[in-house]
C-alpha cells in the first residue's frame, strides 16, 4: 500500500486512490452495489407484500454512506436515520440479517421488532436508524461523551438529512459537542428535500455547512456523489476528532432517486431533475468510470462484482424467508432489561 500511495501522490490522483489499495477500492464498489441491490431487493419484496409498513430508500446516495464510513473502525459508532439502509451496510451489517428484520423475523437485527426504520447493528457500532428526524443527533453526542470520558478512542458519526437541520435537537447538539470538544462528526446528507420541502423553502442558509460557524466548528461541503471527496473529508474530520480537537460538520450534497417513502407522488420536483441526477451524477457510475480510468478494475471485474452481489442479495432474501416469526407470547420482551440468567 505504501508504494501505491507514493505512486499516487506523484500522479496527482484524487484522495481515495492515494489512500486505498486496489483491493479496498474494489470492495468499496462492491459495497456500493450491495447497498443499491439491497434496497432494490427490499423494494421488490415490499411490492410483493413480503415486507409491510413503509421504507425510505437511499438509492443515489451510496457514495456518501461509503465515503463517510471508510475511515471508521468496527469500534467507532454511528447513529443513522429513517433513510439508513446504506449507513447500515457501509458500517458492516450483514444483508441477510437486514432482510430478516424487514421480513419481521426473529433472525433480524432487531428480532422483528424494529423493521426498516429502526435497523441497527450494535455489534458493528451502528446504534440504529431513527424514526424521529434529528432523533439520533443528540444520541451521537452522548456516545461521543462516553468515548471521551471512557478514553476508549472511539469516534462517533451522526448521519442526518437536510430536513433535520431545522430541529432544535440539531442546534442544541452541535453546541454541546463544540463546548465539550467531543469526538463526533455531524454528517448532513443534503439530498435537496425534506420529504417534499426543498432546502430553499425550509432553511435560511444556502448551505447547511454554514450552520457550523454558529457553533465554532469546521463546516465542510463535499460532493456526496463523489466517493473520494466524501472519504477525504471524513478522514480529516475523524483525525481531528481523534486528536481531541472536537466536532466537524460535513455537508454531503446528494440526491435520492426514489420518492420520500412508499407513498410519494413526486409532485414537488421535476422528472428532468430526477433524470439529470440519475444519468449524469450517479455515484456508482462515476466511481466505476474513475476506477477504470485509474486502472483499478476492468469491465470483467465489474461484472464479477455485480454477479457476486446478486448472489448475496438472493441468499439474503432466502435467509429472511426461512427465519421464524416471533412468538405472540413474547410480545412484551425487550421492553425492560430481562433478568440476567
Amino acid at each position: 500500500m505504501a508504494t501505491a500511495k507514493k505512486a499516487a501522490e506523484q500522479s496527482n490522483l484524487p484522495f481515495a486512490y492515494t489512500r486505498y489499495s486496489h483491493e479496498q477500492l474494489k470492495d468499496v464498489l462492491r459495497k456500493m452495489y450491495l447497498i443499491r441491490r439491497f434496497e432494490e431487493g427490499a423494494e421488490d419484496s415490499y411490492m410483493r407484500g413480503l415486507i409491510h409498513g413503509t421504507m425510505h430508500l437511499s438509492i443515489g446516495q451510496e457514495a456518501s454512506a461509503m465515503g463517510i464510513c471508510m475511515p471508521l473502525t468496527d469500534e467507532d459508532q454511528i447513529t443513522s436515520t429513517h433513510r439508513g439502509h446504506g449507513h447500515s451496510i457501509a458500517k458492516g451489517a450483514d444483508v441477510k440479517k437486514m432482510f430478516a428484520e424487514f421480513f419481521g423475523k426473529t433472525t433480524g437485527y432487531c428480532k422483528g421488532r424494529g423493521g426498516s426504520m429502526h435497523i441497527a447493528d450494535v455489534s458493528k457500532g451502528n446504534l440504529g436508524a431513527n424514526g424521529i428526524v434529528a432523533g439520533g443527533i443528540p444520541i451521537a453526542v452522548g456516545a461521543a461523551l462516553s468515548a471521551k470520558r471512557l478514553g476508549n478512542g472511539k469516534v462517533v458519526v451522526s448521519f442526518f438529512g437536510d430536513g433535520a437541520n431545522n430541529e432544535g435537537a440539531f442546534h442544541e447538539s452541535l453546541n454541546m459537542a463544540s463546548i465539550w470538544k467531543l469526538p463526533v462528526i455531524f454528517v448532513c446528507e443534503n439530498n435537496g428535500y425534506g420529504m417534499s420541502t426543498s432546502t430553499a423553502r425550509s432553511t435560511a442558509v444556502a448551505n447547511i455547512a454554514d450552520r457550523a460557524a454558529a457553533y465554532s466548528m469546521p463546516g465542510v461541503i463535499v460532493d456526496g456523489n463523489n466517493f473520494s471527496e466524501v472519504a477525504e473529508a471524513s478522514h480529516a474530520a475523524i483525525e481531528r476528532a481523534r486528536a481531541g480537537e472536537g466536532p466537524t460538520l460535513i455537508e454531503s450534497k446528494t440526491y435520492r432517486y426514489r420518492g420520500h417513502s412508499k407513498s410519494d407522488r413526486n409532485r414537488y420536483r421535476t422528472k428532468e431533475e430526477i433524470e439529470d441526477w440519475m444519468t449524469n451524477r450517479d455515484p456508482i457510475a462515476l466511481f466505476e468510470t474513475e476506477l477504470k480510468e485509474f486502472g483499478v478494475i476492468d469491465d470483467h471485474g465489474i461484472e464479477a462484482i455485480r454477479e457476486d452481489v446478486a448472489r448475496e442479495i438472493a441468499a439474503g432474501i432466502e435467509y429472511a424467508k426461512e427465519g421464524p416469526m416471533p412468538e405472540i407470547s413474547d410480545l412484551a420482551r425487550f421492553v425492560y432489561t430481562e433478568e440476567v440468567a
Binding site: C110, G112, R113, M117, G131, S196, S202, R267, A332
Partner: protein, 332 residues
C-alpha cells in the same frame, strides 16, 4: 330545509371542514409539514394549497416545537391556525408549547387572552410503521387542564367536531386514527358542528356498556353485532371527547346495564380506561354495578414492527367479543 348527505371518507371530511372554515374566515390558516403540494403525509390537506395558496396552507420546516409555538402565538394574536403534526408521535417534540404555553396561557394571564388553536394528530397503530410512528398519546394531553382533547370516530363527527374546534376559543387537540382516514360514511354538506364534550350512544343495549374511543368504537360495534346473535345486548358509547369527559352519558348507561367494559387502543394502564372506571366508582352508578369493571387497552409495550405482534399489541374484535361475553355472563 334538506341538506344533502354524501358518502365521504374520514380524510375527505376533515379536508371539507378545513375548507369551509377557511372560506368562512380569513383568519383560519393551516400549518404543518408537507401539507402543501405534497398534500399531507396522509393526503388530508390534499389540494387545499391550490385553492387557498401557500400563505394560508403553510409548509413548515421540520420544526415541531417551533411550529407548534408559532401556531400558539398566532392564535393568541388574531389568527386561527390549524396545525398538523405529521404523526401524533411528534407531539412529543411539540410538548413544551402545547403543555406549558397553549394550555396555560389564558390561566396564567388571568383570562386576558384566549388560545384558539387547533392541533391535529394522526395517531395509532396498524400501518406497520413501528414504535415511533404508531403511538396513541391522547391521554397524555388529556391530563392537562386547559386543553380539550377529542377523538372523532366517524367522517360525520370529524367534520362537525373540527368545525366546533375552529370556533372554540380554547386549544383543541384532535386525535385521528390513521386507519380511519379511508373509512367512508355519510357526511352532510355545508357547515354544521358536533359538540365537543358530548359522547354518543352508537348502539343501545341492556346487558353491558362498552365505552370505546376512536377506531375501537367500530371494533366494539362489530363485537356487539356478533354477540347480539348470542342474545347478549350491548350498548356501545362512542366517547368522542376525552377531555372534558361526558359523565352523564356514561353514568346513565352504566346505571342501565350494570356492567362496564372500556376499550381503547392506548396503553391500558394509567389511561382513559382508568379514568372512566374511577369516574364510575366515584359516582352513583357504582351501586348499580353487577360485576367488576373490565378494561381492554394496548399492551404494556411499544408498538412492534412485526405485523402479528403489532395486531396483538392492541385490542382486536375477537378479544372484545371474549371479554364482553365473559362480563355479560358473569364469568371472571
Amino acid at each position: 330545509m334538506d341538506v344533502a348527505v354524501r358518502e365521504l371518507s374520514y380524510s375527505q371530511a376533515i379536508q371539507e371542514a378545513m375548507a369551509i372554515a377557511m372560506e368562512a374566515d380569513e383568519r383560519v390558516i393551516l400549518m404543518g409539514e408537507d401539507i402543501g403540494v405534497y398534500g399531507g403525509a396522509f393526503q388530508v390537506t390534499g389540494d387545499l394549497v391550490e385553492r387557498f395558496g401557500p400563505d394560508r396552507v403553510m409548509d413548515t420546516p421540520i420544526s415541531e416545537l417551533g411550529g407548534a409555538g408559532v401556531a400558539v402565538g398566532a392564535a393568541v394574536t388574531g389568527l386561527r391556525p390549524i396545525f398538523e403534526f405529521q404523526f401524533s408521535d411528534f407531539a412529543t417534540l411539540g410538548m413544551e408549547q402545547i403543555v406549558n404555553q397553549a394550555a396555560k396561557m389564558r390561566f396564567m394571564l388571568g383570562g386576558e387572552v384566549s388560545v384558539p388553536v387547533v392541533m391535529r394528530f394522526p395517531a395509532g397503530s396498524g400501518t406497520g410503521a413501528a414504535a415511533q410512528h404508531s403511538q396513541s398519546l391522547e391521554a397524555w394531553l388529556a391530563h392537562v387542564p386547559g386543553l380539550k382533547v377529542i377523538q372523532p370516530a366517524t367522517p360525520h363527527d370529524v367534520k362537525g367536531m373540527l368545525l366546533a374546534a375552529v370556533a372554540d376559543p380554547d386549544p383543541v387537540m384532535i386525535f385521528e386514527h390513521k386507519l380511519l382516514y379511508k373509512m367512508k360514511g355519510p357526511v352532510p354538506e355545508g357547515h354544521y358542528t358536533v359538540p365537543i364534550g358530548k359522547a354518543e350512544v352508537r348502539r343501545e343495549g341492556r346487558d353491558l356498556t362498552i365505552v370505546a374511543t376512536s377506531i375501537m368504537v367500530h371494533k366494539a360495534l362489530e363485537a356487539a353485532e356478533t354477540l347480539a346473535g348470542e342474545g347478549i345486548d350491548i350498548e356501545v358509547i362512542d366517547l368522542r371527547t376525552i377531555r372534558p369527559i361526558d359523565r352523564e352519558t356514561v353514568i346513565a348507561s352504566v346505571k342501565k346495564t350494570s356492567r362496564l367494559l372500556c376499550v381503547y387502543e392506548a396503553v391500558k394502564t394509567l389511561g382513559i380506561g382508568a379514568e372512566i372506571s374511577a369516574m364510575i366508582a366515584e359516582s352513583e352508578a357504582f351501586d348499580y354495578l353487577d360485576a367488576p369493571i373490565v378494561r381492554l387497552g394496548g399492551a404494556e409495550t411499544p408498538i412492534p414492527y412485526n405485523p402479528e405482534l403489532e395486531k396483538a399489541a392492541v385490542p382486536q374484535v375477537p378479544g372484545i367479543i371474549a371479554a364482553a361475553r365473559d362480563l355479560a355472563k358473569g364469568v371472571r
